[in-house]
């Protein structure tokens, strides 16, 4: 090899490390960047949809999962496709910016090439552009909007309410919103959103007399077309989150009530019926096969960035089902053609929000900066530098969760630790500083208490079985969304396709089998029981990181999986 060639290679390596786009596919993609958001108009009515932004107002990194297993009817079907299989299924070329947005493939390098995603100022620019070319449109927010950041938690959702009002959200439904407590939610809906954003939930009623708590559905005239939108809040909010925060309300899927509202909307002349749903995609796919008369389900909760809409047949015809990812990373565009008072066609595109390709909207940027300013110093405190990629998503564990588990075990002196399988939380690239804001992105909830409990081996197994069934019950109506509880210090085997009670086996602590009757010290956080106390998770995590200063790549504790050969929901 000549001296020149060696120098050239060194230079390329340095350029790659500095984040310059080099791959041929990436270069080719970059050439078309200017037209990336030119989405040709179709039909006469448009729905813009985002969901599960988790209060992320600034551009961020977000790594999609490489493990998202489907079981039963969901096996090897969207949304349970990851990596190259996902690219192939949706006709996305590897190495492109779309591949970066929809998969975890080569994430750290692709992230440096294509830059951050999301950010409300960039999202606002995109919304404005699309609405300018689509006068007959609605902007729909699927919920999980008021929770997920420090500033949202400290203002009890207020910064997000101001941001979504400015963004021009017409209609929303909810899930984590309820964790601010039922009084706060009512206060916001009645005082802050009135006249601006309709808050819809057909599946919430009072526990005592069964009265509706929120408006179930609304009719909007869009370019002369009557469009009905029905709201579906997360059906299992009082189970997945603390019930005491929404004590007077009862939820559930409420299929029959939904059918009644669909029929009512049709009877009142709706040409299009839309369900704005926080069910989760597997639940929506089942529901679409059972409820008649819904044209489109715009879904969220499971954070599935599914590039195309799925068509589901039912007794009344067909229903189109989508899921629009999370963290402000995507904006969905559903263009509908409505003729003779019915939907005759559609075009769907899930647009990744690439912050570099969209200039920040000035008004939104100002609002974000203004609301963040009083907290800026605290939020930007650098706690440590990470050597590895930190992320949360994945069915069984994420590197950021592993850090949380390690912190819990170290600080609490526990034998093992549990951390909830939340699907929100931003990613951090190797070499970046971990700030207090990043820590809050992982922990900002209204019940952040850390706990140390003595549990018998039998209880430990029961907890794992219980959570695992919420994830892998073959009937989607018995799933709650979220991922498997993260486990630190203890190894185990998991067979997702087995029955409840038989999925978890071979539980071991430092190689020794867990004994059913022996007691173990288990650290955890985010308890749903009323009256729980303990130091907030962000303090434990911050303390751990400050002590570390430099964080080596976490060693991911993953269960040994049984019976997942040939499952397209797992990739290296």
């Amino acid at each position: 090899m000549t001296q020149d060639r060696r120098d050239f290679l060194r230079m390329i390596a340095a350029a790659a490390a500095a984040g310059l786009p080099l791959a041929r596919a990436e270069a080719a993609a970059a050439a078309g960047d200017g037209r990336f958001y030119d989405v040709p108009r179709f039909g006469n009515v448009s729905l813009l949809h985002f969901t599960d932004c988790h209060a992320q107002l600034s551009p961020l990194w977000f790594r999609e999962p490489n493990v998202n297993l489907g079981v039963g009817v969901g096996r090897n079907r969207a949304p349970h496709l990851v990596g190259e299989v996902l690219l192939e299924a949706f006709g996305i070329r590897p190495g492109t910016r779309e591949a970066y947005a929809f998969t975890s493939l080569d994430f750290s390098r692709a992230a440096r090439s294509f830059g951050k995603v999301g950010g409300f100022a960039h999202l606002a620019t995109l919304v404005k552009r699309l609405r300018a070319s689509r006068p007959a449109s609605l902007l729909l927010d699927g919920g999980d909007t008021w929770q997920g950041s420090a500033t949202a938690l400290w203002s009890r959702g207020q910064d997000m309410i101001e941001a979504t009002r400015l963004l021009g959200v017409d209609i929303m439904t909810a899930h984590w919103e309820f964790t601010y407590g039922q009084d706060r939610v009512k206060e916001i809906v009645e005082k802050e959103l009135a006249g601006k954003t309709e808050f819809l939930a057909q599946n919430i009623e009072t526990r005592d007399f069964g009265d509706p708590v929120f408006k179930a559905w609304t009719m909007r005239e869009l370019g002369g077309v009557p469009v009905a939108v029905i709201g579906q809040a997360f059906p299992y909010s009082p189970i997945a989150n603390p019930r005491y925060l929404m004590a007077d309300w009862t939820f559930g899927i409420q299929e029959e009530r939904l059918q009644k509202y669909v029929d009512e909307a049709r009877a009142k002349g709706a040409a299009v019926v839309v369900l704005l749903s926080h069910n989760g995609m597997d639940v929506d796919l089942k529901l679409a096969a059972r409820v008649r008369g819904i044209d489109v389900i715009l879904g969220g909760h499971t954070h599935d960035g599914v590039p195309k809409a799925l068509e589901i047949s039912n007794a009344g015809g067909k229903t189109v089902v989508t899921n629009a990812g999370s963290n402000g990373k995507f904006l969905a565009v559903m263009d509908l053609e409505v003729k003779g008072a019915r939907m005759t066609g559609y075009r769907y595109k899930l647009l990744p929000v690439f912050s570099r390709l969209l200039p920040a909207d000035r008004d939104m940027q100002q609002l974000i900066v203004r609301n963040r300013a009083p907290h800026a110093a605290k939020l930007s405190e650098k706690l440590a530098v990470t050597e590895g990629l930190l992320y949360r998503r994945g069915n069984f564990n994420g590197t950021f969760d592993q850090v949380m588990l390690d912190a819990l075990m170290t600080v609490k002196g526990a034998d093992l630790a549990f951390s909830p399988g939340f699907r929100w939380g931003t990613s951090i690239l190797p070499g970046e500083a971990i700030t207090f804001e990043h820590v809050m992105d992982q922990t900002a909830i209204t019940y952040p208490y850390t706990t140390l409990t003595e549990m018998s081996g039998e209880t430990i197994k029961n907890v794992l079985e219980d959570v695992c069934d919420n994830l892998f019950n073959p009937d989607p109506y018995y799933q709650q969304g979220g991922d498997m509880v993260r486990v630190g210090g203890m190894t185990y085997a998991c067979e997702p396709g087995a029955k409840m009670g038989a999925r978890i086996s071979d539980l071991r602590l430092k190689g020794e089998p867990i004994a059913a009757s022996k007691l173990y010290k288990v650290a955890g956080w985010a308890p749903v029981a009323e009256g729980a106390q303990g130091e907030p998770a962000w303090d434990i995590l911050s303390q751990y990181l400050r002590d570390k200063k430099t964080l080596a790549p976490p060693r991911l504790n993953l269960p040994r999986l049984i019976g997942v050969e040939g499952n397209a929901g797992i990739a290296p």
């Binding site: 999980d144 899930h175 984590w176 997360f234 299992y236 009082p238 189970i239 997945a240 989150n241 019930r243 009862t250 939820f251 559930g252 899927i253 029959e256 909760h301 909830p420 399988g421 939340f422 699907r423 929100w424 029961n462 907890v463 219980d466 959570v467 069934d469 919420n470 019950n473 109506y477 018995y478 709650q480 969304g481 979220g482 509880v485 409840m500 985010a526 308890p527 749903v528």
Partner: protein, 159 residues
């Protein structure tokens, strides 16, 4: 039909101590009488499965019937008070019972459906663990059922 006859019919359809206790607690049956009536049908109370319960009630083995409708949560929000409603679209429905497979007392409630009333009942049952819940309908002297799984979970970890 006088009050006593009606009461007796309820007891015949139900028969369990659980039911009698419930009726007494609800003031529908004087406590003393509830105790006196316990001998009436201990078989139904002791039954460990639906077929045995129906047999003890003097009925033929029940047949699954989709004309029965159970409205209940798929996952209970609170296992201590789980709302369960049953509608029967079977002609000549005489009574509706709600049974919980994994409860120590199988039988949770029995409702008489007088002629000319809507065969719709609603109550709350207590569940300690995930279980099948049965709606048992007696219509024109025959028994029919429909079952639904209700999951009871530890909660948390969603989202």
């Amino acid at each position: 039909m006088n009050g006593n006859e009606e009461r007796r019919k309820v007891i015949k359809a139900g028969g369990g101590i659980g039911l009698l206790g419930l009726l007494a607690a609800a003031g529908l049956l004087p406590a003393g009488e509830a105790l006196a009536q316990q001998q009436w049908n201990s078989g139904a109370f002791g039954a460990r499965n639906l077929a045995d319960a129906v047999k003890a009630l003097g009925g033929t083995p029940p047949a699954e019937n989709k004309a029965i409708q159970i409205t209940a949560p798929d996952i209970a929000e609170n296992g201590l008070v789980v709302p369960v409603s049953v509608t029967s679209n079977i002609p000549k429905t005489e009574s509706i019972a709600i049974l919980v497979e994994k409860n120590p007392n199988l039988l949770s409630a029995v409702f008489e459906i007088p002629n000319g009333t809507d065969p719709f009942v609603s109550t709350r049952v207590k569940l300690a663990e995930s279980t099948d819940v049965y709606a048992l309908v007696k219509a024109d002297g025959k028994y029919y059922f429909l079952k639904k799984e209700i999951k009871v979970t530890l909660g948390g970890c969603g989202g």
